[in-house]
């Protein structure tokens, strides 16, 4: 199998790949591999499940060198194929997507924001991959899968909280410090501590369903989220900027938010101390 080195995001994402009948192609995105085969009137897709990403591990995904985008390949014989009967269609579109649940970002080292101060951070979140059948102007979503399988986690009280994904990420000062890969999204976060005491948090809930996804020259990125911290016993005010990310050039929007956010969302966003480890 001959793998082609990806030199830009446009080669990997949002590109229509033509298929001849009976042709099979492979995509490899770090830990995730999948094959797509075109048969008469149907598409067949097979995934090779990767080892899950343990939240404690520092590496977000494999190196960018392990990337292939639509190279002709024969799959191993023991894969389970998913069949999608679409009738017609000669092209496949591979598009990045944000996870289907909020992502809990756990900073690798503790961060304290002093009273009245604000800080801007960049975190990386693994993308999902959307496989879309294209036929002329028509687009049909076939399947969405995570590139990196993240561990589940719970945010909130045991009787009233949210099921989320966990991801350990540094709170970087610039996108370049966030270990760039083509299958992770840079999410700019601004935290404003509007209390009289320091904000020292252990976990931050990024509700990705309210974010738009953009592709820039170097990174996939989301619009900016601003957290207004009003105190440990109060929910935070969250503002989502509508503008595209300012740290990327040649930005184009790939998808809008899964859920339209209200102008000022009030939700719990920070967690401080583990409270449920007792017997």
């Amino acid at each position: 199998m001959k793998e082609k080195k990806i030199s830009s995001l446009a080669e990997l994402w949002d590109r229509e790949v033509p298929f001849a009948e009976g042709e099979c192609r492979l995509w490899r995105l770090g830990p995730c591999r999948f094959w797509i085969e075109r048969r008469e009137g149907e598409w067949r897709i097979a995934f090779e499940d990767a080892a899950p990403e343990a939240p404690g591990r520092s590496r977000p995904a494999r190196a960018a060198a392990e990337i292939a985008a639509g190279v002709s390949a024969m799959p191993p014989g023991d894969l389970a194929w998913l069949r999608f009967i679409t009738g017609s269609g000669e092209e496949i579109l591979i598009r990045p997507a944000l996870p289907d649940r909020p992502v809990i970002v756990r900073p690798r080292s503790p961060v304290a924001i002093l009273p009245g101060r604000s800080a801007r951070f960049f975190v990386r979140i693994p993308t999902w991959v959307s496989i879309i059948a294209a036929s002329g102007e028509r687009r049909t979503m076939l399947i969405q899968r995570p590139v990196v399988r993240l561990s589940n986690t719970w945010f909130g009280e045991p009787d009233n909280g949210e099921l989320c994904y966990a991801f350990a990420s540094p709170l970087a000062a610039s996108p370049a410090e966030t270990m760039p890969t083509p299958f992770t999204v840079v999410c700019p976060i601004t935290i404003r501590n509007e209390t009289a005491g320091p904000l020292d948090f252990q976990r931050l809930c990024v509700r990705v369903q309210y974010l738009s996804l953009y592709a820039g020259a170097e990174n996939l990125a989301t619009n900016e989220v601003v957290f207004h911290f009003h105190g440990a016993d109060q929910s935070s005010q969250i503002t989502f900027h509508e503008e595209p990310p300012d740290f990327e050039r040649d930005v184009r929007r790939i998808s809008g938010p899964q859920v339209s956010p209200s102008k000022n969302l009030i939700q719990k966003s920070f967690e401080y101390i583990k409270s449920l480890t007792t017997y």
Binding site: A51, L150, W154, D159, L163, A166, E271
Partner: protein, 317 residues
Amino acid sequence: MSKLLSSIDFTKVFTPHVLLEAVKVIAIIVIGFLLVRLTAAVVRRVVAKNLSERTKMILQKSIVYIGVVIIVIAALSEIGVKLSALLGAAGVVGIAVGIASQTSLGNIISGLFLVSEKTFVIGDVISVGDKTGVIHAIDPLSIKLRTFDNLLIRIPNQTIITSEVTNITRFPIRRMDLSLGVGYSSDLAKVQEVLLSIARENPLVLEEPAPLFVYNSFAESSINLTFGVWFFKDDYLALRNSLFQSIKERFDEEGIEIPFPQRTISVMASGAGGIDGAGGAAVGSKADAGSPGRVGTKARGAGRLRKRARPGDAAEA
């Protein structure tokens, strides 16, 4: 029979007045039933929008029962039955029926209390005594459980209200506690690290709340501990199976043993010839926390033989 029929003058029986009354009664019954069903449906869909399934069901059934009583009374009144006498008789019958149906009434009243408590709703998984299943229906007299092997169990409301009921799926997350035993020769720090890494690497285990790890006891054959991981309630089976596999695999890889009950049998002989020694032998046994796989014999002094036995070794001993 033909004589009997020929003796009846149908022109006198089916007079226009009688026929009109019959039509009226039929109309009362048909229209009444339609109205009752319509009212019940409207109440269920519109008025009871925010009520639980159980409350909706009880409300609907109450409307139907009351409606049927009203229809019967109206129909009887229409055909000229004197209701005062009937109600008097019904009172007597009511007392008799009431005494006979004490249990049913108890169940109905218990059902009302259960409704007000809101302990469970249709679709919850509950345990009552030794019965566990998904709530299939909540009726005025009983609840019906569908067990995981697809049996239907009817439990009277009175039983429910006087029993300890566990709602397994009420909260979105749960903790799965596994009781494990490791051999006395195991490195306990390593055991803890291996188990916590298994939890970290399983995507179904919630990262928060953190897993529980606690030693319980120094038992006869093992050091017992509880390893508890939190999970989303829908992942129970997948998580349980994957955890058991991971624990077995990792323990094997790391050389951590999960011992089974063992017993050390000491065979004591008065002579110097071991178990075959002359002079008779005393056989005793005591519990031992030795490790499996280390089956062997060890002479302790003249005439005493100590053997660590495991199941299947009896013939050898």
